[in-house]
Amino acid sequence: MGRVFVTGIGVVSPVGIGCREFGQALLDGTTGAAEVTLFDTAGLDRHVACEVKGFRARDHMSALEARHVGRCSAMAIAATRMAVEQSRLTSEQLAHDRSAVIVGTTMGEANILGELESAWIHEGAEAVGLSKIARYGTTLIPIHIARSFGTRGMVQTLPAACAAGNYAIGFAADQLRAGRADVAITGASEILEKLEFAGFARLSAMAPERCQPFDRDRRGLLLGEGAGMMVLETEAHMVRRGGVPLAEVGGYGLACDAHHITRPHPEGEGSAHAMRQAILTSGLTPDDVDFVNAHGTGTHANDPIESRVINQIFGSRRVPVTSIKSMVGHCMGASSAVEAVSCVLTIGSGTYPPTINLDNQDPECDLNIVTGVARAGRARVVLNNALAFGGYDAVLTLAQPGVLPDQGGS
């Protein structure tokens, strides 16, 4: 299996724009939760979410680009620009048909669709803006990125609910290993939108103020938004151009619960399979894993099942576990991509970000949780869990460069 490396990362998140700000905020245990400002929550019984604050598309792209793109694509482009700058890829090294763009999301430019429908419902079809129609389309996110960076290889969108980031990153690594591309821009993007917010409120899935993963008194998730993007390269390409690896992409595991559209399988069968596969296909055993970035939504359904699965995988070994959703909220389709960026930062710093808001650990979540403050520790191999709506399970292994065993192949 050919090696694939991360050579650049970028993030737009509720706790910071850019990796430095984001990484420090996580280590400081900063919350991104606040009153929703993007839309009116009057009439709903929930009013708090983790919005990206201070994001302006024009800070990250030309006026022409900003005019074409919605907020979701804009955040993806901004995060991509950071990743590409860090990778030090030149435009000549990126702008060709061997560069792919593979992006995850849940609903893409959902706010544009919401505005179109609102105009249609209240004022009729004549009031619907023509330019807005053209700007709607989930498939546009990778298209906009490809246009911005001149890539001419595959452009693909993989909507896999809350597992979309891991789906995209894993699939991008697959394509590099298969020789279908040399470079991939990958990750995921998601925005907060009113109908989504109302829907989660009606599902009684949202906490009123704080997200408290693994806490006995947790009351649900907080919705978030953002984008996490990375540049992946084959080893040959990276070495040839003198790139510097930040992390290596190991294997990943996929499974489907086939159980319930919003609830996880009670025994966590799919998530256990995905975690095992992520470890095995990296050429590792559970003992090699140093840290788990949990899905950890703070819902009653997810946390105990995920805890049981982690303990089932690692046995008596108390692997450190964190849920950064306690800080950034649940960024839906972007969540596992934003968290993959966090994992790369953890690998680089050797410091695990904390799970905040954990006042009383639930006995049913009997894990070695990094609580309160960041903790220094070995971070050679990290698992990134994503266990999504629809029973989509995707677990990704990321590792320090040079740590994963050579499994043969080119």
């Binding site: 053209a134 498939t139 799919g270």
Partner: protein, 391 residues
């Protein structure tokens, strides 16, 4: 790529439901087209959209295939997908009477495309939220607004526990689903996938394309005629198909994709002959076949002049003028994310005796062994697959 065996096909389309009906309908293109477009839509309310020419999956009754229980909260997209999936699994000999007979559920998955998802479900909830109160939206219907939910419901209904992948690449999605399928089969993440896609008519979709001036409704100019439907192919490694004794209907031998930006950066919607050429060349290379081996093209020519001329130009650049180009969307309409699946299903029927067509360029092929299926996106993205007749 390693050739993928197609061992089953399920389809819910404006010209028939189930593979035998599909193949039979494609024997007479004119009659099939009349059947697809010959009635007044039951989905598009004339009071809201006026006279609408659209190809609907007529007389579609999911309960006739799935039973009456458990369907209440499924939207139109989900019902089409589950019916097509169920028919494919039965046709492929994977399931009988609802039970797996030749496969472990943990080794069967789905790679499914849609371009616009459940717009009708989103509209339904937005109507409640905008005109009444967001607190009144039905939580049991909310999951339908998530674009991958329909494929999730397929996995639940059919107990498919291997990877479930949704692809949203506009018109190219169902061919891109082939890449997902091939990738996951190669990594042994499953032994069989339902590969394909679905799209359904909705008033929002219809009004959006009419507003864009892209519809051919009034008959005075070119444009799209909207269709809908779902199609899934059972796709597996050749050795796996042989191991379970499954007859092979066709092979998917190669895949290619390309993107080209517009020369004018101020425009968003465009088509590129270069993308078409590159995608086909890559697919041929991937399949290990040369341009001279291609007997026909199952094109995505659908009525938009700029798109169609770019596609025909790109096809001509690779295959010359010798190879006949068919435009099956003229029979059953533009079905966006389902197109590639419908195109592959058309090719399967051609291999099985239905005539290639309707032909928009060239003459009918004397022999049909290799077909290229193309899909042209609205933004410069193109995908292609090479299909071969099973020997």
């Amino acid at each position: 790529m390693e050739p993928i065996a197609i061992t089953g096909l399920g389809v819910a389309s404006p010209i028939g439901i189930g593979y035998p009906a599909w193949r039979e309908a494609l024997r007479d293109h004119t009659a099939a087209q009349r059947r697809a477009f010959g009635r007044v839509s039951t989905v598009l309310d004339p009071e809201k959209v006026g006279h609408a020419k659209a190809a609907e999956v007529w007389d579609f009754d999911a309960s006739a295939f799935l039973g009456a229980k458990g369907l209440r909260n499924f939207d139109r997209l989900t019902k089409h997908m589950i019916v097509a999936a169920k028919l494919a699994l039965e046709h492929g000999g994977v399931k009988k009477d609802g039970e797996f007979i030749s496969l472990d559920p943990g080794r069967a998955g789905i790679c499914s495309s849609t371009a616009y998802g459940s717009l009708d479900a989103i509209t339904e909830l937005n109507l409640v939220a905008e005109l009444e109160d967001p607190r009144y939206i039905n939580p049991a219907r909310f999951p339908n607004t998530v674009v991958n939910a329909a494929a999730g419901y397929v996995s639940i209904w059919e107990n498919l526990r291997a990877p479930n992948v949704t692809i949203v690449d506009g018109n190219c999605g169902a061919l891109d689903a082939v890449l997902s399928c091939e990738t996951h089969l190669a990594h042994r993440r499953a032994d069989l996938f339902l590969v394909g896609g679905a799209e359904v008519l909705s008033e929002a979709l219809y009004l959006a394309f009419r507003k864009l001036g892209a519809l051919a409704d009034d008959g005075t100019r070119g444009g799209l005629c909207l269709g809908e439907g779902a199609a899934y192919l059972c796709a597996e490694r050749l050795d796996h198909a042989a191991g379970r004794g499954a007859p092979v209907l066709a092979l998917v031998a190669g895949y290619g994709t390309a993107f080209e930006p517009p020369s004018n950066r101020a425009i968003l919607v465009h088509a590129s002959p270069q993308s078409v050429r590159r995608a086909i060349e890559e697919a041929l290379l991937d399949a290990g076949v040369s341009a001279s081996d291609v007997d026909a093209v199952c094109s995505s020519v659908g009525g938009l002049d700029e798109m169609d001329s770019a596609e025909l130009s790109g096809i001509g650049q690779v295959l010359g003028d010798r190879v006949p180009v068919a435009a099956p969307k003229r029979i059953y309409g533009e079905c966006f994310g389902a197109w590639g699946a419908m195109g592959m299903a058309s090719a399967v029927a051609w291999f099985d005796g239905a005539p290639v067509g309707p032909i928009v360029k060239g003459e009918p092929p004397r022999e049909l062994r290799t077909v290229v299926v193309t899909a042209v996106g609205f933004y410069g993205n193109v995908s292609a697959v090479v299909m071969r007749k099973s020997s």
